[in-house]
Symmetry: C2
């Protein structure tokens, strides 16, 4: 290089830097929706979670939320370029608690955590590596923060203490001072993203739940599953044949167990791991009549797949130019940011499966164990980096498979093993390989803080007790599923509890009107159908820190143990679910302020207190708010179809006057997006001890699937 060229280079490097590096530290604010502000600093990247998901705000819903001001002190929010990365600092008050940051399995309170948000299977420790490491958190002070990047995110949630903080000098002598703590007060959430700029969003409340609603509505609101999606589903052993499946479907019917959709595992494909996306002609010689036959019996089909394409797939050569640099199990990885890869892959699925009547997919292994997934060194034709692809692959699979069904005006409801912010509105439920029942419930709670759905699926159990306890919780979750791909366990496999399991599965069906209305609220209002107690008015069981100094060898930093309420949750507007786990004979339930009633008997349970219950093996403790209304229908083996009319029993609990909005539409299509739906208000009150209930008329010209209505007073006067 000549000296002149070198000088020119230097001059323009300086120019480049003075221009961009200076700008990078500016922070610009825009109110993008009512109560939602965008902060922007530096040079924002071309690909982020909003772009990956393609999600659009559900403005109609957002406009119904209360008007608010910017919820925190703007001057306490700092950005900076550090070591070529973007640094973001957000304030934390004393006593403030942080929830969210994705599908964590072991703790609900995130303050004090250091996380690297990174899509991965859950490895047994909450460290940011999870199926949905959603960069959204909600504060107990009533606001939410979302970081819009598809990079891995390092986040220090109130751990680090800056020298320039007012609290930095509060040193204590560990030798002699019993108040010494390994965790001095930190007044900030600090975030580092390896990008030259960053976009983030502040969601106001006033309550934490309002911030969550805004966050969900910002991404289009939650999904509205088809009615059948809220029924019962069984997944069968991998190498089942069409005849095996038909036999199993028949068995469900004969034995009187409900079944809305049945899931086929890898063996439906001619080759899998990597996949051909074609039926195996030996096990499934006539897919069309197989699928039709099941549909005629009211049973839909969900197909397992992962997105890694086998060299034996018919479209392998065609898709090859639009795949990443690395293979997964010797299959190629479609670059879903290219229209070509999408058209080829989803074209195949549409032509070969969906057009036959297949109703959904289980999208496996898009989270990745590091050793089988594409590495961070991989490249993709679209130019999206491996890291960004990893963070969003599950989102992309959800987005474009949903689109495929939407083109047919047909709702789907499936399973996926990776998600992220932006996928809030996609009709997919996350599952995994992990199988700790307690942690599954904690994940269910955390899903509600992060705009994702999670199923505490039932796979296998060591004994009838575990089987029943797991079944009791899965029916109070987004997807009531037995996943027997390996164990082949059926609902009746433990004869000792087969009847109780059947009762639970039928209860799931009876509650369908409730679940369906609650999911509609998720869609239209952003209210998560399953969520943590901290979001419930009148709940005040904060985390208790228990300091245990006795064993310094095991606990050298005298870390306080945190006791959190992470084993009870809200299911829909009115229900509090408090599961028991194997080995438990009794448990404590923290009831928020206000009267609560037993869901099954209507009996008074307590008011703003901690009760201890001993429900026996057959029962899962579930409570209803005073004035709570639960619309139910008769037990049945499949969800009502299309515009089929269904009689309702409106259960009413307690003594306070109650209101409930019942949702209705055709249950299957996207016509609700064109206004073909109704919310009908139910009102219930006692008048001189006598129950008086009413329901608003069905609006004219809208679908109406409600048949006869009966009101039932559950709480004995």
């Amino acid at each position: 290089m000549t000296a002149i060229r070198f000088k020119l280079l230097i001059i323009f490097l300086v120019f480049f830097c003075s221009f961009f590096c200076a700008r990078a530290q500016e922070l610009n604010w825009t109110e993008v929706q009512p109560g939602i502000w965008k902060g922007q600093t530096g040079k924002v990247e071309n690909y982020d979670l909003i772009k990956a998901s393609g999600a659009e705000p559900f403005t109609e819903g957002l406009q119904k939320l209360p008007k608010t001001d910017f919820p925190i002190g703007k001057e306490a929010i700092k950005t900076q370029i550090i070591d070529g990365k973007t640094y973001l600092r957000l304030p934390l008050e004393k006593g403030e608690q942080i929830y969210g940051l994705g599908l964590n399995f072991q703790t609900i309170h995130q303050r004090g955590k250091v996380l690297r948000l990174h899509v991965d299977h859950f490895g047994g420790k909450d460290n940011g590596r999870t199926h949905a490491p959603v960069p959204f958190y909600v504060s107990s002070k009533g606001y939410g923060i979302f970081i819009n990047t598809s990079r891995y995110i390092d986040i220090y949630v109130g751990t680090a203490v800056r020298k320039d903080s007012n609290h930095a000098g509060e040193a204590k002598d560990r030798n002699t001072d019993k108040a010494w703590t390994s965790r001095p007060y930190s007044d900030a959430v600090e975030i580092l993203v390896a990008a030259q700029g960053l976009e983030f969003f502040v969601f106001s409340g006033p309550k934490p739940l309002d911030a969550i609603k805004r966050y969900n509505l910002f991404f289009g609101g939650g999904p509205l599953p088809p009615r059948w999606g809220l029924g019962f589903t069984q997944r069968v052993k991998s190498l089942y044949t069409a005849a095996d499946v038909e036999k199993e479907v028949e068995e469900f019917k004969q034995k009187g167990y409900p079944l809305d959709f049945i899931g086929l595992e890898p063996g439906w494909q001619s080759k899998s791991y990597p996949c051909t996306f074609e039926w195996d002609k030996g096990r499934y010689p006539d897919p069309k009549s197989f699928v039709t036959g099941l549909l005629n019996k009211g049973v839909r089909l969900n197909l397992w797949t992962n997105p890694y394409i086998s060299p034996d797939a018919s479209f392998y050569q065609k898709i090859l130019p639009f795949t990443g640099s690395h293979t997964v199990w010797s299959g190629v990885v479609p670059d879903l940011q290219t229209t070509q890869a999408r058209d080829i892959l989803f074209g195949q699925m549409q032509k070969d499966q969906v057009s036959l009547g297949v109703s959904g997919y289980k999208i496996d292994e898009v989270d990745g164990y590091d050793h089988y997934l594409w590495p961070d060194v991989a490249t993709f034709p679209s130019g999206i980096s491996a890291e960004q692809m990893r963070q969003t692959y599950g989102v992309l699979m959800q987005r474009y498979s949903t689109e495929m069904f939407k083109k047919l005006n047909q709702r789907t409801y499936g399973l996926v093993r990776a998600s992220n912010a932006g996928a809030n509105s996609f009709p997919y439920v996350i599952y995994d390989d992990y199988y700790n029942h307690e942690d599954f419930i904690t994940a269910l709670i955390n899903s509600g803080y992060s705009g994702v759905l999670w199923t505490p699926e039932v796979r296998a159990s060591k004994n009838p007790e575990e089987w029943l306890r797991r079944m009791q919780t899965v029916i109070f979750s987004p997807m009531a599923m037995i996943n027997a791909w390996s164990s082949s366990t059926k609902p009746w496999s433990f004869p000792e509890v087969a009847l109780q399991v059947k009762e639970m599965a039928l209860l799931r069906m009876e509650m369908m009107p409730y679940w369906y209305s609650e999911f509609a609220k998720y869609h239209f209002e952003g209210l998560p159908p399953f969520r943590g107690m901290s979001l419930e008015d009148g709940f005040s069981a904060e985390a208790v820190k228990i300091k245990n100094k006795t064993n310094l060898e095991d606990n050298p930093y005298e870390e306080a143990l945190t006791k959190e309420i992470k084993d009870q949750y809200m299911a829909g507007e009115n229900l509090l679910v408090a599961p028991l786990f194997t080995g438990q004979k009794s448990r404590k339930v923290v009831l928020p302020k206000g009267k609560w009633y037993d869901f099954f008997t209507g009996a008074y349970a307590g008011d703003g207190e901690v009760i201890t219950v001993e429900p026996g093996l057959d029962k899962i403790p579930v409570y209803v708010k005073d004035g709570g209304i639960i619309p139910m229908m008769k037990a049945r083996l499949n969800a009502p179809r299309g515009n089929e009319k269904t009689d309702l029993e409106i259960r009413y609990y307690g003594t306070a006057p109650g209101k409930y909005t019942l949702y209705d539409d055709d249950g299957e299509s996207y016509n609700y997006e064109k206004g073909q739906y109704s919310f009908r208000e139910i009102q219930v009150a006692l008048s001189g001890g006598v129950l008086k209930g009413s329901i608003a008329d069905a609006p004219k010209g809208k679908p109406n699937t409600i048949g006869k209505i009966v009101f039932k007073q559950m709480t004995k006067p």
Copy 2:
């Protein structure tokens, strides 16, 4: 910005990129030392592991190693800039095994791992986060690779398969093919470093051990501890007073347990966590006479500290401008890349402690738990990033504390909780809070592949058996230590095994001539004193993969279990140590080819075979090679001082003629660096069944501490 400015910017961005991005992919090679090549690509950073350590090659030692050619195909080594990071690919043959990559605790074989090398405490899983995540690996094919960066390093050790690899298309159908594996053959190690360029080194063999020797010598060779460092050490309870310590020292003597140095824990400081670096005047009213008193009894002092400075330290205000942006336990973090911070901190240590006769330090908490350490968002006055500081802080503390002692021509031997490549020559032994005995031994094995030292310290035990088993292994390690900072356990605390423990501690002392010579070989030849069996000629127990298909629920990807030999190791040139763990009554020992003999009895044990031994609780199985020589001295309670003469017993095992080089110097100073040392050859052979031994004369003008010599034939004819 005007349109013209924008156009100019674009033009020069293109210019900038065409200039730099193109250059970045070039790879330049230089042979920097015999058998050591440097590869360089892109724009190398200003701060790396070599610069942090300041280490210089020990060229004299390097020149003695065999001449070799570049050991792998250069054309298979690829570099590229991907997503703004530097990508490096190195080839892997089928059947090739990879060792090293730092202080791993659970596996020795690294092939198949995905690691993010990141200084941290060991969290229970080998994932790259460890006290010494050394970016050096050695291949079974006889070469080594070192990545010279102080960034975190993502490394895929033969996991990922590229589409352009010859093996990419070897897809298998998991549905029906029993040969399906979740881990198809990968032909590369792939590395990603978030930097615009990279420097790395290739070390030739021809044997793996030669590559390790080159690596150690490249960084100055291993440390040569003072003789007393290889004696026995006890650490006392945190709040001990001077009188408590003196009493304990007296007790060791009275009871006849050896003690060369004693370690004080945080309570010696007036305040700690964060630290004042000053004696507590209550517990230690007269440090000078306290230290002198101990020295007179032949016992040296080691002081615990972490580097975080208390606001109550006398030099707090002075050091404040040279500290990082974040505090640790409300103490400030010296920026050790500034001379000011170094001068202030080590000046204080020198003046207040070392000048009084303190012999070393235990440098704690420089590895960090993420929640207490400075976060990656921190900044330092020197401009070194938080990440780079994290990767090298332990190295810097070792480097500059060693310098402090070296200025006094006085060797030290201490403890440290973080290290990295480049620190190979520093006299520090790594320890941690974790306490799994089996994993401690695996770590000891791995230390030898990574140029670090590790002690499987004894802290507490559940029962006498565990106490004795742990003691049996710690005396065959770089530091024979009881660390009773919390438990206050003494060697005699379990009366049932107190005698056996004493015997072990005394054996450590008897073996001092052997240990000292072996450490000299570490220094002068780069031969790690503790190392894995794979480096031993004639050892052939490769990892066995055991495929277990029975439980897909627990093992959904049918991961094969790897059975490795990770519980036996080489200690010095001639010893094979095969510890037993609590609960074990017998164990298998894999003996390499050649005859092996029992260390204690001299009896023949086996030849290239797997033997099963049942040694009883009192004995740790240790074996000596045929012709092996172990120089020993009489049991004593403290190491010989300075030029004190010591009588030797030269033990000889087996029947083959034997050679051994015995090292000698003053045992305390750095005069050996000026040639004040000798290696004296010992030769032993049987002549008509009669033992004939000889030792070379002591070279004139060199230190000579060898007194009378007795040869002992251990193997009965």
